[in-house]
């Protein structure tokens, strides 16, 4: 069981800016829409690209990475599952810095992702481990402060990275 601390969405936005993320590629996710996506859509420091399907976002980030533009793809965990082949190709095979912010829609309050009764949520962490993709769970406010360093590190190493968002930031 985990505590049900809430997270301030603006602190995540600040961390993205600190990491010099200038593009946000997104398909709306119910967990992150109000607290992150809407504020980002109104923020002139980001260029927001809305997409029709999440694997598009993985590939757009791949293209952007060659010109040293930093980007984050926002999606729901179902979109992550739908994009596995693109993430396998661009993240695992090509080792490109694809940064994903993944909302865990349906995760029960006070449960960790691995304890969820929802199949789609429960299999996310085992899949990331199997794919050897680094991840960080934004479970409480103190988890936010490392976001910029983790993005920096992913770009320096040229490797994919996932931030899991279990509950809606406020």
């Amino acid at each position: 069981m985990v505590s049900d601390n809430t997270i301030d969405g603006s602190s995540i936005v600040s961390e993205l800016k600190k990491a010099r993320v200038s593009f946000v590629i997104a398909l709306p996710d119910i967990v992150t829409c109000d607290g992150l996506l809407w504020p980002i859509s109104r923020d002139p420091d980001f260029e927001l690209i809305t997409i029709c399907k999440e694997d598009e976002g993985v590939s757009i980030c791949s293209g952007l990475s060659y010109s040293e533009n930093r980007a984050v793809v926002m999606m729901q965990h179902t979109g992550f599952l739908d994009s596995i082949n693109a993430i396998r190709a661009m993240g695992m095979d090509y080792q490109l810095p694809i940064i994903m912010l993944v909302g865990l829609q349906g995760l029960e309050p006070d449960y960790s992702p691995n304890e969820s009764s929802k199949n789609g949520v429960r299999i996310i962490i085992p899949m990331l481990e199997l794919m050897q993709i680094g991840f960080h769970i934004l479970d409480k406010q103190s988890d936010v402060s490392s976001i910029s360093d983790l993005i920096d590190s992913a770009y320096k190493k040229s490797s994919p990275y996932v931030f899991l968002v279990p509950r809606a930031p406020l």
Binding site: C52, E56, A89, D93
Partner: protein, 195 residues
């Protein structure tokens, strides 16, 4: 009327000797031989993703012309990307689809819709300000200057049949050295353009 793919690509190469080009599958194998260049972006990884890679390149390199040489089957796998591109409207993106009606590198089986799909109309309806169709080389020769002039995004459907058989060099299109070479060439190009 129809035209040979390699003839169409050779013609395009004369107009675009130095542009960033994102070709896929058989078009990539042909293009690598017809216009070998460090700014050929060959590593699109998953089928259907070329248009999205190219959009990322176009957004990140707004002062460079970016061309996609898509396949018909590939485009069908990522048809929503037309709406995404039509919505972003990058002025520096040209999306060519080589329409031969088959999954050529996967057993030459027909694509859904055969030759009945009107890709250019879909592109127009998705927000591309200009869309073109060509099915013979002389019309393409006459039309290319207009196609390539002015701002994008532009969509071009080329109805083709297979021409010369170029070797399917999968090793190169997935090679880490190719990606490193593209990245270095792009950095050099951007530095030269922006200095």
């Amino acid at each position: 009327m129809t035209m040979l793919r390699d003839e169409a690509l050779e013609l395009l190469a004369t107009h675009c000797p130095d542009e960033i080009v994102v070709p896929v599958y058989q078009s990539a194998f042909d293009w690598m031989k017809i216009r070998p260049h460090k700014l050929n972006y060959l590593c699109t990884g998953a089928m259907g993703q070329a248009s999205s890679h190219a959009l990322g390149l176009a957004l990140g390199c707004t002062d460079q012309k970016v061309l996609i040489l898509d396949g018909d089957g590939s485009l069908l796998m990522n048809l929503g990307s037309l709406v995404t591109i039509g919505s972003c409207r990058p002025k520096n993106l040209w999306h060519f689809v080589l329409y031969n009606g088959i999954y050529e590198v996967n057993g030459e089986f027909p694509i859904p819709g055969g030759f009945e799909t009107d890709f250019s109309s879909i592109a127009t309806a998705s927000g591309f300000p200009r869309s073109y169709n060509f099915d013979n080389i002389e019309e393409l020769r006459k039309g290319l200057p207009e196609v390539l002039a002015g701002p994008g995004p532009v969509f071009v459907c080329l109805k083709v049949i297979c021409g010369k058989h170029y070797p399917r060099n999968y090793e190169t299109i997935h090679d880490a050295r190719q990606r490193a070479s593209f990245k270095a060439a792009l950095a050099t190009r951007l530095a030269a353009t922006r200095s």
